[in-house]
């Protein structure tokens, strides 16, 4: 099944266009549709989860999109790696919490390959370095298939995060790969992290 997983490297996209496309993909897929992993970056945008209660702390020219994913408010922009794993987790026999774990583990494993030691934080899904957040997760599962995904800060302008409490956590500091390793290329990172996700999913493929 996973042999046919399609890795799609995409350009810098507007959030809304990619959201509508992955939502449609998920609504139209059936039990035979191969999974896809999209690798991309977004133009600057704040996005808010469906149940989110946090707001912008200060006015901003950057647009805010209310979406249908889980989680609170966050920021996306160029230099941040976005991976949307459009995976039928029911077919693989994986629960949604387990899938969140897989995405976290894939980020931790890949960060280790570029010399960044990252970890989980209890009751706060995502990936952290020295207590600062480097990778975020927000998902939606419909009929056992997930969309939305992860955002990993590689080499970006972090200032827009100061306009929000990232993921609803007051005063949460953000960090990025370039603060520890300046030689990481985002296109290469995207391909490698997607392959790491596929490697972890293969354990569930029967």
């Amino acid at each position: 099944m996973l042999e046919s997983i399609l890795l799609r490297e995409r350009e810098v996209m507007n959030f809304k266009a990619s959201w509508l496309e992955m939502k449609e993909f998920t609504e139209c897929r059936d039990e035979n549709t191969p999974d896809e992993i999209w690798v991309l970056q977004h133009n600057p945008v704040f996005t808010q989860g469906e149940g989110g209660v946090t707001k912008l702390l200060a006015p901003s020219n950057i647009p805010l999109e209310i979406t249908d994913r889980g989680g609170e408010i966050t920021y996306h922009g160029p230099g941040q790696l976005i991976i949307y794993p459009l995976v039928d987790i029911k077919r693989l026999g994986i629960g949604v919490r387990e899938f969140v774990n897989i995405l976290e583990q894939a980020m931790i494993n890949w960060l280790d390959t570029v010399g960044v030691e990252a970890e989980r934080k209890e009751n706060a899904p995502g990936v952290y370095v020295n207590g600062m957040k480097i990778g975020s997760i927000g998902l939606r599962a419909k009929r056992g298939s997930v969309y939305h995904g992860l955002a990993l800060n590689i080499d970006m302008d972090l200032t827009p995060f100061s306009k929000i409490d990232p993921c609803g956590m007051k005063g949460m500091k953000m960090t990025q790969v370039s603060e520890f390793n300046e030689g990481v290329n985002i296109q290469g990172a995207g391909k490698e992290l997607a392959q790491e996700i596929i490697k972890l999913l293969e354990k569930f493929d029967v």
């Binding site: 989860g49 469906e50 149940g51 249908d68 994913r69 889980g70 989680g71 029911k90 629960g95 949604v96 919490r97 899938f99 969140v100 899904p125 995502g126 997760i137 927000g138 998902l139 939606r140 599962a141 419909k142 009929r143 997930v146 993921c167």
Partner: protein
Amino acid sequence: MKREIFLNDFGEMLEKVTIRKWHADVDQDLSTDDSLVSFETAKAIMEAPVPVEGKLVEILCQPGEQIVRDQPIAVIEVA
């Protein structure tokens, strides 16, 4: 026959979730092709399908409410 619906009916071992949205109204006929309720756990929203065909008799929790595993969330009159 009336049947209480629990988180276990959605095929995943979930201990605690927050209800986000009901996709059906009381007295509505339910098909297993439809979504019944959305809930959030660990940064993921699950749009859970109707677990059994019938009529939705009662909704026992509202959006924003936290629900644990052994707590019924709705009652369905099984077709």
